[in-house]
Amino acid sequence: MTQALISQVLIGLSVAAILVISAIGLAVIFGVAGVINMAHGQFIMVGAYTAAVIGQFGGNTFWAIPASFIVVALLGLIVERAVIQWIYDRPLETLLATWGVGIILEVLMKLIFGPQLYYVGSPKVLSGGVHLIGRLPYPYYRLFLIGMAILMVAATFIVLYRTNFGLKVRAVRRNRAISGCLGIDTTRVDMLIFMFGSGLAGVAGAVLAPIKSVSTTMGFTYAVNSYMVLVLGGVGNLLGVPTGGGLIGEAETLLAFKYNSVIGELLVFIFIVIAIRVFPRGIFGYYERA
Amino acid sequence: MALLEVRGLTTRVSGYTILNNLNFSVEENELRVLLGPNGAGKTTLIAMISGQFKPIEGVIDFDGQDITGWAPYDIVRAGIGRKFQVPNMYETLTVYDNVMVSLKGDRKVFKYMFKRVSPEESDRIWEILEFIELAEKANEPADTLSHGQRQWLELGMLMAANPKLLLLDEPTTGMTQEGKMRTAELIQKIAKNHTVLLVEHDMQVVRHIGKRVTVLHQGQVLVEGPLNQVVADKRVQQVYLGKGKLQ
């Protein structure tokens, strides 16, 4: 029993990692660029399909990661130039526009790849697992996912808080007009940060494809989970992502273990709503002055 | 007794002490000017009185009751109106509606629901609109007004609310000289039948209005008294050295 419980906690870690991976891109786009990107799930989906295509040419996940990053970043560039750049000052309307973008992406992908599920294998190196505790081996791939999660958060942190570019980004976020006056090329900053966020979503698609199913309709669930993670953890603070992800992931797996998956999901949602009521800005969210 | 009395007011924001045990009071029907270098805590004091922030220590008495830590709308209902530094009204509403919404009266949801604009109220609105010289723009959405006109409209809204005490936070920012002068006159008109607490940088305006002056420094009252006497004061000049000279 205790053994099973411990292994369950470990599994929870990997679930948390999956949540973090899928949410980090949104944390950048939503939390930093301030765009309510409803197409986030579809971005992940495109990333996964990129991985599938790479797979057709014999490349494995390690090839897919950079490829997906580039592809989806370019996609993000197009979306940002075509749609988002006009509505930065109307955040709630980015929601509608990106919802439209999401629909379009889904249909296009269906027209290109057909409606059937696609296959993405996991690299040979990561097949198999290590025996930690309990009967089951702990899959290498899930360890890899945990690693990826840490890596992606770290990378984002460095980009946002340890580079000159990150400084500009935060400046623009605080006050677009003034930073413009101070000679920061705000359009370029917006563009790049949106691309970066999209790219991260693409990576998420690439690394999640081998354990999930790849279809044109896979997006919505990821988008929803990502928003839950962000809102629970707190928008605009990177620490919020792992916190929110960790809480939700562990809660979901442990509840699923105690009762069953459906009740688990249900309770987690309720827990989130209550939590948000307690911390209106999320656990790590900072309060705007005044 | 004093209309507004602030005792031992203290507040910190992220470690910095903005107001430090501040004592200060305003009499009925007086026009008080609040002076002080940047960061002296003028705006914070206003924010405290209007309930935007809660003080860490100290008491704010208004009209005989302790309003410390009240919700902003309760404080307003108690009779304190606030003019923001940046002009601040309802952009998509017409000038008329802006004033109409601000009219004095019961603001409870269900009491308000079936209320219509009575003739008296309408007259009052037009009176105000003409007073602030925006009558012919009554039908225009507020966001078509120029900056100066916005400032005036907000003053008008405050008059409509007809509070016992008006807190005016730099109402002349970003105006041309003659704009400032006209605003000064407007304020004097208002001050005829309201108590006004005015925060102002521009010495010309202050001279123009020139009544009792309080100088804040590092969150405490430095000097208080008639204008010329204050200006003559050594400490004040020290405080202002390097900053905008008191010419």
């Binding site: 439209g100 629909i103 | 705006t43 940046v86 601040n88 003409e130």
Partner: protein, 395 residues
């Protein structure tokens, strides 16, 4: 300009300011026309007609969109969970109808109570559902429970000053919860299959009833937004901080309008269930909520009629395109949303309105001139960073 001219101006503004009547005569005429057309569908198209079925459905959607318009368009609360109230209303009515139907029409298992309870292992109608046998009671619940729920949610949300994006995401989560809940407790809700196979009320009388309710909702909405309280709601939408410092208890106003909206949605849901004869978890889910928001946006925020246009337009397009070019009709829907957001942020009705208002102001040349003057006015004296958020300059 000289004094006398000014006086003239003022007089003119005063005259213009005579409040428009609650409903102008011409509105009544055209409204009556529309109502008459829809009301005569049963005769124009035959009572069995498919378009008739759709029309009733769209009217329910219209009310739903209207409720979103009230809270979003007029008060600035974006709720992505409005379907919660629609769904609860729909499910309660559907349950009641289904139970009654099962009583005199044995289900496929030959029992006297809903089949989804049978295959989930129940042997009789659960105690707590017996009150639902009386349909009037069910309808009462369908209207009241959502309103009360909205009140509770409203209090714990707006009293804590949660709005904007956070409000949007919380309400989204609420919709998800209800959806999960319905699927999980399929013993009582029919789960993934939803509730179907009960007597529905398709036909002229009920269509007229729906029509009447729709008109009523529009009147309520009009009265609400046109009266003084409407002005307060708009002022809250424009600048809630200022409203707070004008002595309005913003939270209370938000809660109030939120409840009204929830009530409307619930009514729409109740009629929807009775009309189409099938409800499923999708009617209570986030996707449906967002659809509602989109109808409102496309039709035109802050214009009541926009809700009507948006709902009818999009649903009609959707159903025609999905028949004509089954594979990629959704492309057009996606494109439509983007176009509306980018090029007509005030929606179809709003944009039309602007255009008309401009035309009335005179020739394009005059308009441009006026715009320039305005721009100049705004430039005349240097404005401090108007973009700074209100109250941010404090401290």
């Amino acid at each position: 300009m000289n004094a006398s001219a000014k006086q003239l101006q003022i007089l003119k503004s005063k005259r213009n300011l005579r409040r428009t009547p609650l409903i102008s005569l011409s509105t009544i005429i055209i409204g009556a026309l529309v109502v008459a057309v829809i009301g005569s569908f049963p005769y124009l198209l035959g009572s069995g007609s498919y378009v008739l079925v759709l029309t009733g459905k769209f009217l329910c959607f219209t009310i739903f969109a209207l409720s979103i318009d009230l809270i979003w368009g007029f008060t600035g609360i974006l709720s992505l969970g409005q379907a919660v109230y629609f769904g609860i209303g729909a499910y309660l009515v559907a349950l009641s109808l289904k139970i009654n139907y099962a009583m005199d029409h044995p289900t496929r298992y030959g029992h006297k109570f809903p089949d989804f309870m049978e295959w989930n292992g129940l042997t009789a109608l659960p105690k707590f559902m017996e009150p639902l046998v009386s349909t009037p009671f069910a309808v009462a619940c369908a209207l009241l429970i959502p309103t009360i729920l909205a009140f509770i949610f409203g209090v714990i949300t707006f009293k804590r000053h949660i709005y904007g994006v956070y409000c949007a995401v919380i309400t989204l989560a609420e919709a998800l919860i209800l959806q999960e809940f319905i699927i999980e407790y399929q013993t009582y809700t029919g789960g993934f299959n939803g509730i179907t196979d009960y007597s529905n009320y398709v036909g002229a009388p009920f269509l007229w009833f729906i029509l009447a309710v729709t008109v009523a909702c529009f009147l309520i909405g009009r009265a609400l937004t046109h009266s003084r309280i409407g002005t307060v709601l708009k002022s809250i939408r424009d600048n809630d901080v200022r409203a707070e410092f004008m002595g309005y208890n913003v939270a209370n106003y938000r809660i109030f309008v939120f409840c009204v909206a929830a009530f409307m949605s619930a009514a729409a849901g109740a009629m929807y269930a009775a009309w189409v004869g099938i409800v499923s978890f999708l009617d209570a889910g986030p996707v449906f909520s967002v659809e509602g928001v989109i109808w409102t946006a496309v039709g035109g925020r802050a214009t009541l009629i926009g809700a009507f246009v948006g709902a009818f337009l999009i649903k009609a397009l959707e159903f025609m395109l999905s028949g004509l070019l089954a594979d990629f009709w959704q492309l057009f829907m996606g494109a439509l949303f983007i176009i509306v957001v980018l090029w007509m942020p005030d929606g179809i009705v709003g944009t039309l309105g602007d255009w008309l208002r401009k035309r009335r102001r005179g020739t394009m040349a005059q308009i441009r001139e006026e715009e320039d003057r305005r721009a100049f006015d705004r430039q005349r004296d240097w404005a401090p960073a108007g973009t700074v958020k209100t109250g941010e300059e404090a401290v």
